[in-house]
Symmetry: C2
Amino acid sequence: MKIELESIGTIHTEFKDIEGMPIQPTGAKGVEGKIVLDEKYAAGLKDLEDFSHIHLLYLLHKVEGYLLEVKPFMDNNTHGVFATRSPKRPNRIGSSVVKLDKIEENTIYISNIDVLDGTPLLDIKPYVPQLYEDTIDELKIGWFESNHKKAKSQKSDDRFK
Amino acid sequence: MKIELESIGTIHTEFKDIEGMPIQPTGAKGVEGKIVLDEKYAAGLKDLEDFSHIHLLYLLHKVEGYLLEVKPFMDNNTHGVFATRSPKRPNRIGSSVVKLDKIEENTIYISNIDVLDGTPLLDIKPYVPQLYEDTIDELKIGWFESNHKKAKSQKSDDRFK
């Protein structure tokens, strides 16, 4: 089944190159950016400013092709791509939870953003963990268990170019 | 910018109609379903079973068109679509965190699933809140503050048909 989408805006950040970037929001704490939403969607932002955090879905537009098994930035072992957050994945959709600082017309000022400048935006959802967190009893995070703290300091390299 | 995606599999659930469904995972606690991933992507599941929860991105395939302001299931006021999780949104991508029960070849058995039977899958990511949760100091959830508990019991109606 083929699906046609259209970007609804663009994410602007200080990251101009796929190398040397933070690899997760926890490594991008305090990094500011902005989203310019297409003007035709501006009315969809009503009441969004009452949320402190938003969930962005975007296209990892500089990635070509995908790998089924990858060696992610934080590990030396190979894992299935769906057990990682590697950008080189089928449909190459990225997902980040960022802080919403303020909204001015169709521009949304954000912090903790870990994406490349010029990234096409697909969706904005309010971040409301209350809607699922009572379904999570015992959390297991696989190979991230011993590695997730690396996300704070590790930067991307060229492996997914 | 036009973007072409392709579903990577199908989500199967007991929900055959867009009306009368749970509206969030918290209302679907214990509801079992399964994902049949296209066989060509099966190698991408390696090590996924070490995670207790996964983040699904999927196409809200029965939704046509979008609204910029919506009255969501849980509220009587109108909000901008990006301040809600209404399905009638540009790019109509849905997002759920579900429990992973087991994997057998290219079939993934899941719980707490709140989507329609036959939903096209776009991506599976491991659910690793550690990768962003230290960036969240003070969480504000806007209009959900007084309404999010309704998600446990409220079912969908026909408003987004």
